[in-house]
């Protein structure tokens, strides 16, 4: 039965073929002649026949299947990439500043989730612990201050307090940004309160508090700077509420011309430096990643210039780069205002120096952030530049680098990375130096501002060198970081090792001259060279 069926099918196929042959003369076509031996082979061997039939149906199916699978994988990969990009953005240290900018006006502090995964969680935790301790202290101070007379504080003590306590200096910033007329309204209160003197008990408590405050108050101030825009409305309301009670609310407006001029110059310098850094950062990375918060904050600082003191400026300068989280609550600020009444440090310059000193370790954090930021920027640029370099190398006719696709992209990438990072860092250094040389005003009379700016420049340079070393050490541990020529040597070695690719074991084609020569060499003896 099966045999008959097969016979009938074969006969049917034959009839079809004969008809086709009769009509189109297929056997006379070149294509058929080309395929004919294979068709006969297939016809002769049932295995070939089965294989060809299977191929006819399976190959398109397989192609479709593979295509669909590849599409699914591509889709998954895209999703994964998107997820990774989201994670990347979340982990991006620049992101830590962005919400602060965005939330400056009305967004409540929501950065805790991101900060939980950030490398600065420890710092935040420490700050919170310190803040809790401070709150306890301030609660104690409040209790004590309630018992004491509110109007006993002298104007001199208020001035000193305002100059020295950075927490206290936060308030005018809020005021200027939110409601400047309010400051005028509080002037009468201030003038009235300047005549008051603080209680001795309050002084004692302030002196006790000094032992703790210089270390962690700065950190809290940093938090405040970041959190300030987010708590803008709340803090304004609180300030309005407290201004009636707080005798030290507007003491920052007390006239101190010399210090204001110095502050202004220092702040201008700092702003310019920050602007330069921002510009360089923007040039180095995508334009959208430039932290607008720095500009805004610097603008706020400029506006506050007339009312701020020296310590505040310097502190604020550093805090702009410190991505400290916003953990301070309005209640804490309320307590803080009370604590400011108790703080009494006479010398503002000494305190500013202390603030600088205490912020030194904290400054490491933005350093790390910038480091990572630059690292990411470098990586992105490398991704863009590496293919060009490879294309260029492959186009070189005699180069040992060309036509070697087996060279790992990592190997090429290292050399390119190092070259790019070096050139970029050099550019960065040159630009930074030129910018700083241009914009650095001759402030011979203000050693602190010079020291601060020099310190910043040195630190930036140090960070660059450290970043380069770190980057190159991760990219190519054994190569010299400052020798791009030497870095190309391993690539060359790899290219040499991939030489066996050119080895071919294929037989000579019969229509080639070499085949004929080989054949002749087999036919004739070595001394039989008389023939043509």
């Amino acid at each position: 039965m099966i045999e008959q069926f097969l016979q009938a099918s074969i006969e049917f196929a034959k009839e079809i073929w004969f008809q086709l042959e009769y009509r189109f003369h297929l056997e006379d076509t070149e294509a058929f002649k080309l395929v004919e031996p294979y068709l006969i082979q297939i016809q002769d061997n049932p295995i070939y026949l089965l294989a060809s039939l299977a191929t006819l149906f399976l190959v398109p199916y397989t192609l479709l299947k593979v295509r669909s699978l590849s599409r699914d994988r591509e889709r998954k990969l895209d999703e994964l990439i998107e997820e990774m990009e989201e994670e990347y953005d979340e982990d991006d240290p620049r992101k830590l500043r962005r919400p602060e900018v965005d939330d400056k006006t009305d967004t409540p502090p929501t950065g805790n989730e991101e900060q939980a995964t950030s490398p600065y969680t420890k710092v935040i935790d420490e700050i919170e612990e310190i803040k809790d301790t401070e709150e306890k202290l301030e609660v104690r101070k409040v209790e004590l201050s309630k018992s004491a007379n509110d109007t006993h504080t002298t104007a001199f003590k208020q001035e000193e307090y305002d100059e020295d306590d950075p927490r206290r200096l936060r308030r005018p910033e809020v005021d200027d940004r939110t409601d400047t007329p309010k400051t005028e309204g509080t002037e009468s209160i201030v003038s009235r309160l300047t005549e008051n003197e603080m209680d001795k008990n309050l002084d004692e408590l302030t002196s006790l508090d000094e032992n703790i405050s210089p270390s962690f108050d700065d950190l809290i101030n940093g938090q405040e700077d970041i959190r300030q825009p987010q708590d803008d409305i709340e803090s304004t309301e609180l300030y309005e509420h407290l201004s009636d009670k707080d005798p030290l609310a507007n003491n920052s407006e007390l006239p101190e011309l010399n210090e204001d001029e110095q502050d202004k110059e220092i702040k201008d310098l700092q702003d310019e430096m920050e602007r330069t850094i921002n510009q360089l950062t923007q040039q180095a990375e995508e334009p959208t990643t430039s932290p607008a918060s720095i500009k805004d904050l610097s603008k706020v600082d400029v506006e506050e210039d007339a009312t701020d003191d020296n310590a505040f400026h310097e502190d604020n300068f550093f805090r702009e780069d410190v991505p400290l989280p916003d953990t301070k609550s309005p209640d804490t600020k309320n307590d803080e205002t009370l604590a400011q009444e108790e703080s009494a440090i006479s010398d503002a310059e000494v305190l500013a120096a202390e603030i600088l000193a205490t912020l030194e370790p904290e400054f490491e954090e933005p350093v790390e952030l910038d480091e990572e930021l630059e690292l990411e920027t470098e990586e992105k640029e490398e991704q863009l530049i590496i293919p060009k370099t490879r294309d260029y190398e492959s186009e070189l006719p005699d180069s040992t680098f060309d036509a070697e696709p087996e060279i790992s992209s990592d190997e090429l990438g290292f050399s390119n990375e190092s070259l790019i990072s070096e050139s970029k860092s050099m550019k960065f250094e040159e630009t930074l130096d030129s910018e700083l040389d241009k914009e650095r005003p001759p402030l011979a009379n203000d050693l602190k501002s010079l020291d601060a700016s020099d310190n910043l420049i040195d630190r930036l340079k140090f960070l660059q060198t450290r970043f380069e070393n770190r980057f190159q050490s991760t990219g190519q541990p054994m190569a010299n970081a400052s020798a791009p020529i030497e870095k190309s040597v391993p690539v060359k070695d790899y290219a040499r090792f991939t030489a066996p690719r050119s080895y071919s074991s294929e037989a000579l084609p019969p229509d080639s001259e070499k085949y004929m020569e080989l054949l002749e060499s087999f036919v004739f003896m070595k001394d039989q060279k008389k023939h043509k």
């Binding site: 002769d44 036919v523 004739f524 039989q528 023939h531």
Partner: protein, 325 residues
């Protein structure tokens, strides 16, 4: 001496390239086309043609030709079961039976030439010894078989050159100086410098100028046919083309390309079944290839069709003069 019968010798330098199989099928095809054909196994000492025809325990063989057992040479012609096809077996291989002296060779040649048939097909043994070459040279149509492998190409070239030089040697049997030049069987007395026809011509021009025309005639009249067996692809066909070029370049011989047989398991199966594949499946591709070769040899267009176990042959004689017979 006038050759009254068409003798086709199928030879090749290398063994195992399918000479016997092709020769058997050629004989079967020619017989089916109406010719009276005698197939002779001249591979003395290693004969197997009878096995390809399914003839077990043949009654007579070539060994009997040299004994007094056979009084009538016609008794050597065995039936094959294929109409118009007779068979002379080389069976009865005894050790040393391949070493036949020239007298016996001469006797066999004489026997062949006296056979009454349209076509006598000689299945030659491998190699280039004179027992093989001399049978090739008595043929009116020599068919050289090769396979695409380079070793087979080399051997086939050597076979053609040896056959040509043997032909020249036999033509100038009475001139020892020429024999030295063309017969290299004894290197001590041979002039080995002429190993191509061009060199031979130049030597003849220098030493035997009066024989140069005869030499040229011998060379020009020597035009065997070529069949490439076990072809798998176009590249394999190129190997046959290379052989033609090589022969033309060094021997100035025009080898006629007769056709090719593709590599097929059907051929192998036919050997196992001891039925010529042309008869087993005349519409298979190897059979069609073989029909083309037969057509080239006989100047006809043949088409074999098998219906209900019977083979029908369509034969059309070509009007144009084809291959010189």
């Amino acid at each position: 001496m006038t050759i009254s019968v068409n003798i086709i010798a199928v030879g090749g330098g290398k063994g195992g390239i399918g000479k016997s199989v092709i020769c058997t099928n050629l004989a079967a095809g020619m017989a089916l086309s109406g010719q009276k054909v005698i197939l002779m196994d001249t591979d003395f000492g290693a004969s197997n043609l009878h096995a390809l025809l399914g003839i077990g325990n043949p009654a007579y063989g070539f060994q009997d030709f040299f004994t007094d057992k056979v009084t009538d040479p016609k008794t050597l012609l065995l039936d094959t079961g294929i109409s118009n096809l007779k068979f002379v077996s080389g069976a009865g291989d005894n050790p040393g039976s391949a070493n036949i002296d020239s007298k016996k060779i001469g006797a066999i040649v004489s026997f062949i030439k006296n056979l009454q048939a349209d076509t006598i097909l000689l299945d030659l043994g491998p190699g280039t010894n004179y027992n093989v070459i001399d049978f090739f040279n008595i043929s009116s149509q020599g068919v050289v078989l090769t396979t695409p492998e380079i070793t087979s190409i080399m051997k086939t070239f050597s076979f053609i050159r040896g056959t040509l030089f043997r032909k020249i040697s036999q033509a100038f049997q009475n001139s020892p100086d020429i024999q030295k030049m063309v017969d290299h069987s004894n290197p001590d007395n041979a002039n080995m410098e002429a190993y191509t026809t061009e060199l031979l011509r130049s030597k003849f021009q220098e030493q035997f100028p009066k024989h140069i025309d005869q030499l040229n005639t011998l060379i020009s009249s020597f035009n065997p046919g070529l069949v490439v067996n076990r072809v798998r692809n176009r590249k394999d066909l190129m190997a046959g083309d290379n052989l033609l070029k090589l022969v033309k370049k060094f021997l100035d011989v025009d080898v006629t390309y007769l056709g090719y047989i593709i590599e097929s398991d059907r051929v192998r199966d036919s050997i196992d079944e001891m039925i010529p594949f042309l008869i087993k499946d005349p519409q298979s591709k190897p059979s069609e290839n073989l029909q083309q070769i037969i057509g080239a040899l006989t100047n006809t267009d043949l088409q074999f069709v098998k219906r209900e176990g019977r083979i029908f042959v369509s034969k059309q004689v070509r009007l144009s003069s084809g291959w010189e017979a």
